[in-house]
Symmetry: C2
Subunit: 213 residues, 2 copies
DNA sequence: GGTTGGAGACTAATACGATTAGTCTCTGCC
DNA sequence: GGCAGAGACTAATCGTATTAGTCTCCAACC
């Protein structure tokens, strides 16, 4: 009885003297840890065992906070989408047109590089019922819509252009973080060129249809 | 001794009366089955158990043909890269410039849609030592190089443009197959627009630097 | 024709991660 | 002090990967 009153080997104090009643964890802490693991070691390294160890807790205890492994992955994805959305929004504020495009693109890439695990989690297929996840995704996408609207105001056509831009950004950061670029050429320059290409493509598109046709 | 001479529950006859000596499998058959599973049920559904069941064999037997689960995934990736390379090459033959760009892009997308599992396997980080995998990837990328060279002949600059184009294609097919496009707008049209944007971007790029500067 | 070598399948055994069920304790509240 | 519930724990089950060791059959060689 002298050893291990409750089996804790956790880092630091475990209780919030204020509102919360029990020493235990909290969904946000679990998500934090999950994101940290995924970012540092890859999404595949995110296991419940690993997560529990990180938090100084036994695996089954995690089920009080997330819905199994899938739940943990979802938490990471949600965090990724929300943070990405915020980053994009911040980058876009006060800018428009090419200026906004570049800023948003840079923010997009920066986020993905800084949080490869969270970004990767974002790619998982989102169940149609998961409104929370869908909303977060939509919020991030909206920023791109707002930016591209500079070149095209017809909403239907806009969807296509946004898809093109998103695809380019998404593809680049995945190839980059996955080591998909074999050549030694500087990736920063490549990304700048990618944005140039998109920009020029949008310009040409806008020039081709001066009005909403 | 009456029951189960060798423990087979395999589908159909198991031997090639001709050249091969033993009833057993063959690396190519294993790869075929792995690709089939990955394409039909997703890369995550590719497990050794599942693969063994598919082939009418016990799990450990697979180790004679592939190097564990990672080996199976690698086999799928290799198949994907090779087939993709071939498809791109076929699409490019006899064309150049915008015509080639569109044909290659369409072939790229068609492959990814037809073989989502194999395409997904392609994304895995490739170890630097894996020459076979790298060669297959390079072969596919070369086609894009050849196409984009129409717009830019400086090899260093070309690398950037190729990355931009690859990124766009890669990003699109991933978003598409991952259900990343929430809107109902037709995806074919989006993809066509994406190619237009890339094309116009390349045109603008070429116009901006008439010579190799 | 018998022997031998090896490919390739199998069973047995181990380890690890996910998940569920049931138990125990601590905290805050009445 | 007693009660209710949050939240951690142990025990147990299951699926999958992986390794070790065994067995059988085919084919080439003597």
């Amino acid at each position: 009885m002298a050893a291990e009153t409750a089996g804790h080997a956790a880092p630091g104090p475990r209780r919030t003297p204020g509102s919360r009643s029990r020493p235990g964890l909290d969904g946000a802490q679990v998500a934090d840890a999950a994101v940290a693991i995924a970012d540092a070691e890859g999404l595949a390294a995110l296991t419940l065992s690993r997560l529990a160890a990180q938090l100084g807790v036994r695996t089954p205890s995690l089920y009080h906070h997330v819905d199994g492994l899938d739940g943990a992955r979802r938490a990471v994805a949600l965090r990724g989408l929300r943070d990405l959305g915020t980053a994009l929004r911040d980058a876009a504020v006060g800018r428009s047109g090419p200026d906004a495009l570049r800023a948003v693109a840079d923010a997009y890439r920066a986020y993905a590089l800084a949080h490869p695990g969270a970004y990767a989690a974002t790619q998982r297929v989102v169940p149609a019922e998961d409104d929370e996840l869908r909303a977060a995704a939509a919020r991030a996408t909206e920023v791109v819509f707002a930016v591209v609207r500079h070149w095209e105001d017809d909403e239907e056509e806009l969807v296509h252009l946004v898809r093109a831009v998103r695809s380019a950004l998404h593809g680049f950061v995945l190839l980059e973080s996955g080591g998909g670029f074999g050549m030694p050429a500087p990736r920063d320059a490549s990304f700048a060129r990618l944005v140039d290409v998109q920009r020029a493509g949008l310009d040409a598109h806008a020039a081709g249809r001066p009005a909403s046709s």
